[in-house]
């Protein structure tokens, strides 16, 4: 299955990746071959196999509704690329 350059560009926009023309070519062919492999997998009869969404066999992992201490404001903002007035600061968002 051929993945076009346009499709690669769309995925790149969604993932916020800036790709060079060369990378677009590379990904187009690599993604195509990945999907070809899925076509191969489709040949297997999975009629009686339930879809797997998780590798773990675990079920119902839950906790009680208890509050524990949070990070301090300083710790919270420590990794932010930009912070000011006790908040993370980002380019102006309208609306």
């Amino acid at each position: 299955m051929k993945i076009s350059k346009e499709e690669v560009e769309k995925v790149a926009v969604l993932a916020r990746l800036a790709l060079t023309e060369g990378e677009k070519e590379t990904f187009s062919s690599e993604m195509s071959s990945i999907l070809d492999y899925f076509d191969k997998l489709k040949e297997v009869d999975t009629e009686k196999v339930a879809p797997t969404s998780h590798a773990s066999a675990g079920r119902n992992v839950m906790r009680g509704d208890e509050v524990r201490p949070s990070l301090s404001k300083e710790e919270c903002l420590m990794n932010a690329p930009d912070a000011n007035k006790g908040c993370l600061r980002v380019p102006k968002i309208i609306g």
Binding site: H54, G64, L71, C76, C87, L88, K92, I93
Partner: protein
């Protein structure tokens, strides 16, 4: 038939009812009243200093693992069962991928395929007719952070992000596109909010955003099966605004279709000040969320035992309570509707009736003076200075003749202002009913001798003047005279 747009005028009747059918579907996001967040132990308390309720999990640091808060599931189950949904025995979480500054992980943990609950309904009554609005699904998800917009923050060319709300539990309740008028939409929301409040899973505060609503709306020619192009409306933070925004959007889409143009599928923001919806064009890209099962959260299995435990814990819901009030207290349907509009009001009423077992009398006072005063002060019943005990005490004082019904209004006002015991107020403000016959007789004598002409007229047959004399006596006693006694004495004197 009245106009579906405003419910009052008749002008749009032809345009809308004859030519187009309105199709509305609502999405409600309700914040759940848990103490901690859905996938971590940070506090959910509203109004804390920005960015003081976060941890590596809700900040989306690498290598952390979310763990589901069991209470979120309990709460979501309560709602699912209360609106008659089928509960999924096997349910799972999914990642909804998009980039926005209020979303630290780059995805929101939500449910996509296999939501917790599906196929329920909420009953609504408009113009005396009941109808079931389908609930397509209810799923659990995490809230995003908040972009701060106060003036201090807005002066520059940045936006400021507070991540305290990130990870606060939400349920999204999606209706079927079965709503046909803005009025139905508003009723659906009111009833749904009432149910959430009765269940004590959400405070229902629309202004603070703990109960938020988006609407999808489209028009199609009557008789056509295929749905028309819809728009999505956002930013409506009250029932009134939801109704107004939908009314506006019906007019807008009607005009477009009447012109032979096409409605564009887009998100539009309601501007309450201008009373219009505005396109968000250019600010939002076509969404492609690339949902997939979240590998960090294992599937959720809900067995029948769990469902039955939750079902057994459900309280009496608004509709059941309303029906019971009509039956048990013999109050009119309208009274029952108002009295059960919130659980706290219903509790207030029931407590008052328990202390003063004349349901209709209590209902008249609660729905009259009490709600009028609270509404005027924009107060909730929880903040009412007059307790059920004092209200009942005052009603007893009217009943046994200690105070007159007229004076009771003054006593009530004093109680409302001070929160004091009515007995104390009556004593201190000298509001006791005047029942001393000798004194009343003296006052009546005075009134009659001061209105000799009227007395003449009365004796000539103008018996309606009795009311005038009673009024004069009341005036003379500042409303404290016992009206029954006044009537008796007056008649005795005039009719002899």
């Amino acid at each position: 038939m009245e106009c579906v747009s405003c419910g009052k005028c008749f002008q749009l009747e032809r345009v809308i009812n004859v030519e187009f059918e309105v199709i509305i579907g609502l999405e409600v996001h309700a914040q759940l009243l848990t103490k901690s967040k859905i996938f971590c132990s940070c506090s959910t308390v509203f109004g804390a200093e920005p960015n003081t309720h976060t941890c590596p999990v809700c900040l989306g640091m690498p290598g952390v693992l979310p763990v589901l808060n069991r209470k979120v599931v309990d709460f979501a189950l309560r709602v699912g069962l209360a609106v008659h949904c089928e509960i999924a025995h096997y349910s799972r979480f999914a990642r909804k991928n998009y980039f926005y500054p209020d979303l630290p992980k780059g995805y929101q943990i939500s449910q996509y395929e296999l939501p917790l609950a599906e196929h329920g309904y909420v009953e609504v009554t408009t113009n005396g007719k009941s109808k079931r609005i389908g609930v397509a699904r209810i799923h659990m998800e995490e809230d995003a952070g908040k972009l701060l917009h106060d003036e201090r923050m807005e002066a520059d060319s940045y936006s400021y992000v507070d991540l305290n709300r990130t990870g606060v539990p939400l349920i999204e309740i999606v209706s079927e596109p079965e709503i046909r008028t803005p009025e139905e939409a508003s009723e659906y929301l009111k009833n749904l909010r009432g149910i959430l409040q009765y269940l004590e899973v959400c405070d229902g505060n629309m202004e603070e955003g703990s109960f938020r609503c988006d609407a999808n709306i489209s028009l199609r020619p009557v008789g056509q099966q295929r749905l028309g192009t819809r728009t999505e409306l956002k930013n409506m933070n009250s029932f009134k605004n939801v109704q107004r925004a939908l009314e506006y959007e019906i007019r807008r889409q009607t005009n477009i279709l009447d012109d032979g143009s096409e409605v564009i599928q887009e998100t539009r923001l309601w501007d309450a000040a201008k009373g219009v919806t505005l396109s968000m064009r250019g600010k939002e890209e076509a969404h492609d969320y690339r949902y997939f099962p979240d590998p960090d959260l294992v599937p959720l299995i809900i067995d029948d035992d769990w469902i039955e435990v939750v079902r057994g814990s459900l309280p009496e819901l608004p509709q059941e309570k309303r029906d019971r009030f009509i039956k048990e207290y013999q109050v009119p349907e309208y009274d029952a509707e108002v009295l059960t509009s919130s659980k706290s009001l219903a509790d207030y009423y029931e407590e008052s009736v328990r202390l003063f077992p004349s349901p209709k009398v209590v209902s008249n006072w609660v729905m009259g003076e009490l709600l009028r005063r609270l509404k005027g002060d924009d107060r909730d019943i929880e903040d009412c200075p007059v307790t059920p005990r004092y209200l009942a005490k005052m009603l007893k004082m009217i009943e046994d003749g200690t105070i007159s019904g007229k004076i009771a209004k003054t006593v009530f006002e004093e109680m409302y202002l001070s929160g004091e015991d009515p007995e104390k107020l009556v004593r201190e403000k000298d509001l006791l009913q005047l029942t001393d016959e000798e004194e009343l007789d003296r006052i009546i004598e005075k009134v009659l001798s001061g209105n000799a002409t009227e007395v003449e007229d009365y004796k000539k047959g103008k018996s309606k003047l009795l009311g005038f004399f009673v009024g004069q006596v009341m005036k003379e006693t500042k409303g404290k005279a016992n009206p029954k006694l006044v009537n008796e004495i007056l008649r005795g004197r005039l009719d002899r």
